[in-house]
């Protein structure tokens, strides 16, 4: 009983960014809890392997927090254990922050079997970085991207748009530079002001002009245009890649592949057989109701969401539409009204036997997703 993807969460950061509401904690680089954390994950990995959960796991992802904040030694140990626990990995990604992604860390990751590095660049304008509460400079980002590319790793950079101080020009400038650095993958996220974050506290329910939805749309469109011109093609709402450089782990999330998350704040999605095995791994998992075919939980909430077969089906439709390639039209045969409505509203269009999101369907994805989730 095996999962298709493994996510390991590293909940430590040097500093919490002003927009971040994800489970992570700012701490010192010598925080002894990091060793304890490491031991726990390694023990979990061993048990997973013992239970036979990782045999067919194709992709692994070390996310954060800031995995590189663990330092070369700890990170190398963790990455190697992941690599050896999952004998059939075809893709192994690690998130990184420019301030802690040293040459040594890059070499360590490569030696441990990491194939892909996703760097939190966000912007190549120092003033914008400062406003986001990032602790690195644009130069640090440029340098580490170059090193990682040179080291032969698949390099992805995360960029943020609709952020303070950003202009259409500075955004284009950032995009051009990133393209010139030779990366094979880019993710573009408009900043979301989340409750409880410094931005959320500052703005409440108000939208500052820099985060206006028109600005978000314009920047996303600009990114799509410039990146496409450099053969970085959008394959998902926020993801762009050169041919063959798409992130298989990311695609797994949208295509109903069961995945296991380890570490606090990591999300898991399991089918019935893998859930039964996972109950030996996490003793807090409640028994599965007989009609539940998909289970979602995060270790942080210690709460399981049980989805029926019908719900899982509707969820797959919804998630499938995050991908540019959309879904096979036949999958909507059971709900012709929804299909026709989405076509009439111009949110999807037909393309070679598939229904694919239109430009509107991309930028107004929530309309599309909500309509499909309503089919449950």
């Amino acid at each position: 009983m095996s999962i298709g993807a493994l996510y390991v969460h590293v909940p430590f950061c040097a500093r919490k960014c002003s927009y971040c509401d994800f489970a992570s904690e700012a701490t010192r680089a010598d925080d002894p809890r990091m060793d304890g954390y490491l031991d726990e994950r390694i023990a979990e990995l061993d048990r997973c392997r013992g239970l036979g959960m990782l045999g067919s796991c194709k992709t692994a992802y070390l996310g954060g927090g800031t995995p590189t904040f663990l330092g070369a030694a700890r990170l190398g140990t963790l990455a190697s254990r992941i690599r050896t626990s999952c004998p059939n990995l075809t893709e192994f990604s690690c998130e990184a922050n420019p301030d802690s992604l040293t040459e040594k860390v890059i070499a360590t990751l490569r030696d441990a079997g990491v194939t892909r590095i996703s760097i939190g660049v966000q912007s190549l304008d120092d003033e914008e970085l400062r406003c986001l509460g990032r602790i690195h400079t644009a130069d640090q980002a440029r340098a580490c991207v170059t090193v990682a590319v040179t080291a032969g790793l698949n390099v992805s950079v995360d960029l943020m748009c609709a952020i303070p101080r950003q202009t259409d020009e500075s955004w284009q400038q950032t995009l051009h530079e990133v393209i010139a650095l030779g990366v094979g993958h880019v993710s573009v996220y408009p900043l979301a002001i989340e409750e409880g974050t410094p931005f959320g506290k500052r703005y409440g329910d108000d939208t500052p002009p820099w985060n206006d939805e028109d600005v978000q749309a314009r920047r996303m469109e600009c990114a799509e245009r410039l990146l496409a011109a450099a053969d970085l093609i959008r394959y998902e709402v926020a993801s762009y890649a050169r041919d063959g450089r798409q992130c298989a782990h990311n695609i797994a999330y949208w295509t109903g592949v069961p995945y296991l998350g380890l570490g606090p704040g990591a999300a898991s999605m399991l089918d019935a057989p893998t859930y039964e095995v996972a109950r030996d791994l996490f003793d807090w998992l409640p028994p599965r109701p007989h009609d539940a075919s998909r289970m979602r939980f995060s270790t942080l909430d210690a709460e399981v969401e049980f989805l029926s077969a019908r719900e899982a089906w509707a969820e797959d439709l919804m998630l499938g539409m995050r991908l540019t390639r959309g879904i096979e039209e036949g999958r909507l045969e059971a709900v012709p009204d929804t299909r026709d409505d989405l076509l009439a509203r111009g949110l999807v269009e037909r393309a070679g036997g598939r229904l694919v999101p239109t430009h509107d369907g991309w930028l107004l994805g929530n309309e599309l997703f909500a309509a499909l989730w309503d089919c449950r």
């Binding site: 028109d214 926020a238 999330y253 995060s298 969820e315 107004l364 994805g365």
Partner: protein, 604 residues
């Protein structure tokens, strides 16, 4: 057996005040000082038993509580404390309560002085021939100016204020003196204990087990449980099932005697038969004349009330019927709207009444409701000589069939410091008001009298008055008469479709301004949709204003935190929940508050 209380020991009185001057806290203190309610049992403002009354600090229903006061002269007096509604919407109810009294305690805030409802309530009390005991409240506050207020009471109200008692409802200071003043200043009731029964209904409420319970004041005769009685105006006979007094919980008594105030269980199941202001007499031994002043409460303001989801239409009807049981002034007729489906056109005594009822419907009956713009009762004279009453813009006939339209006018009074006279004058001009006269009450206050169409007053007049006078102005009004006005129907089109529920009857000269204001306000209220939504204002076929809600450009959650789909889906479901509270009109999702946008149009 004669159980008639010595009437020389009875004092029936009301406490009247401008809103927030502390009427309820003084009532609470009196209950406490006479040990009617022990302090530990006393929750704030005991007499206001409805949630909304407590929350808003306003009294909606009348109530009468008996307290026994051991006076300094060694005798025990029976005080019947009649609490009255405290808002201009409920003037009739106030007048009926006052008719049950011999005296009134006029509470004036020592920091605010005489305000509009101080004057109107004092006048009501004087018209009812009541002995007035002025009480200057909140003397514990540092900003209290009791001497100034005393002078104002004498000057403005021509009430000798030497006897005015200085009190603090908060600390209890002066309450004992107030009780002594009540004993000495307010006369005992007079009447004929052996004459046929004559009792006034002050108010009533519905009890699921016992039917309608009336609060009554006995002028002549007495009521014993088991008596066969008659509602004079209604012509309805009934049996007195129980009589008693509230202290403040009900305490049954063998009889209510001449001069007393108490409750009467009528056993009647239909609240419409028990009308405030009606007279109760014996079924066989009847009094000659009923108590004067009875008339049916007439609704002043009308709005459409619709369930957001039409399947709750019957629930809304049931809820209205349940509310009417304790609020007989509520009236309604079914109304159908193309945009909103089935609902009711509901008549209210005023805007506050409307707000309170809508809130109770939503809260107590768990309904999601849309209220449409308030309207008044227009008298529309047709070219064929017929007159029809129109309370809903959609019922207005086409202009060709209309000879003229008359609208209700009010006589209104504003009391304001002299500095703000100019601002109030401007507001009157903006709202088609005409000043009739102006009196300087003192150096600090001017009383302005004016005529104004009710339709103007029910929009944002009161809020504007408050904001333009920095909260200093107070307002009071009464219906005066109908007068003709050049009125037109302003229609609103969303995405090219006329939305009947957004139509509004307006003075011709104000139509353009309001049309513009409404289009702009609706643009703020209606969220962006997948398509651009033009909003147009029109009179007949002529478009007079427009605005546009831009198309939604971006609505997608881009970031995925380590595959946390649950969180994404929850956000989608939250968005959908928000949409469910909106009304789909054609392809446009319209929030509930859009239908009351006219109340929020800033006409500056």
């Amino acid at each position: 057996m004669n159980t008639q209380t010595d009437t020389s020991l009875i004092r029936n009185f009301s406490i009247v005040a401008h809103i927030d001057h502390g009427k309820s806290t003084i009532s609470d203190r009196i209950l406490e000082l006479t040990h009617t309610v022990e302090q530990r049992d006393l929750y704030k403002q005991m007499l206001d038993s409805m949630d909304i009354e407590q929350e808003r600090g306003i009294t909606i229903k009348s109530n009468a509580v008996r307290v026994l006061y051991d006076a300094d002269d060694g005798k025990q007096y029976q005080f019947n404390l009649i609490d009255t509604p405290g808002h201009v919407d409920f003037t009739y109810e106030v007048s009926r309560s006052l008719a049950a009294c011999e005296g009134a305690v006029l509470v004036v805030d020592a920091t605010q002085g005489v305000e509009a409802q101080t004057v109107s309530n004092a006048l009501l009390a004087m018209n009812a021939d009541l002995e007035i005991v002025p009480a200057i409240n909140k003397i514990d506050l540092p900003s209290a100016e009791p001497e100034q207020v005393r002078a104002e009471i004498e000057e403005v109200l021509a009430i000798p204020a030497d006897d005015a008692v200085c009190v603090s409802g908060k600390t209890g200071e002066g309450i004992h003196d107030l009780l002594e003043s009540i004993v000495y200043l307010i006369p005992p009731p007079t009447g004929d204990a052996s004459a046929p029964l004559k009792a006034l209904i002050l108010d009533s409420y519905f009890d699921a087990y016992r039917g309608v319970v009336a609060m009554v004041r006995i002028f002549d005769g007495s009521i014993r449980a088991g008596d066969r009685l008659l509602m004079m105006a209604e012509g309805q006979p009934f049996l007195a099932e129980e009589v008693g007094v509230k202290r403040p919980l009900e305490q049954p008594l063998p009889q209510l005697g001449m001069g007393e105030v108490g409750y009467l269980v009528t056993g009647l199941k239909d609240p419409a038969l028990v009308k405030t202001g009606d007279t109760i007499t014996g079924e066989s031994r009847r009094c000659v004349e009923p108590c004067p002043g009875y008339h049916e409460a007439k609704p002043m303001v009308f709005t459409g009330i619709f369930p957001v989801d039409n399947k709750y239409y019957e629930n809304l009807r049931d809820a209205l019927e349940k509310l009417k049981v304790n609020d007989p002034s509520l009236t309604w007729t079914p109304e159908t709207s193309v945009a909103l489906g089935f609902g009711f056109r509901v008549g209210f005594l005023g805007l506050l009444h409307m707000e309170v009822v809508k809130e109770r419907l939503e809260r107590e009956f768990d309904l999601d409701l849309i209220a449409t713009s308030p309207s008044v009762d227009y008298h529309v004279y047709l070219t064929d000589g017929q007159m029809i009453e129109v309370t809903s813009p959609q019922d207005l006939p086409v202009p060709e069939k209309i000879e003229r339209i008359e609208e209700p006018y009010l006589k209104a009074t504003v009391i304001v410091p002299p500095d703000y006279v100019g601002a109030v004058m401007q507001l009157l001009v903006d709202h088609r008001g005409t000043s009739t006269d102006m009196v300087y009450l003192s150096e600090k206050s001017v009383e302005m009298h004016f005529d104004i169409p009710l339709a103007e007053l029910i929009l944002d007049f009161f809020d504007q008055l408050k904001s333009r006078t920095k909260g200093y102005a107070s307002l009071d009004y009464e219906f005066s008469d109908y007068a003709p006005s050049p009125l037109v129907k302003l229609d609103i089109l969303l995405a090219g479709e006329e939305v009947d529920a957004l139509s509004f009857i307006v003075h011709r000269d104000k139509a353009y301004q309001l049309g513009r204001g409404l289009c702009d306000k609706l643009k703020e209220i209606i969220p962006r949709q997948q398509f651009e939504v033009p909003i147009q204002g029109a009179i007949g076929n002529k478009i007079i204003s427009r605005s546009t809600v831009k198309a939604h450009r971006k609505d997608v959650l881009a970031k995925c935190y380590g595959g946390d789909i649950t969180r994404k889906r929850k956000l989608l479901e939250k968005q959908k929940e928000g949409k469910k509270r909106m009304k789909s009109i054609g392809r446009v999702d319209v929030p509930q508050e859009a239908f009351l946008a006219v109340l929020k149009v800033d006409d500056e």
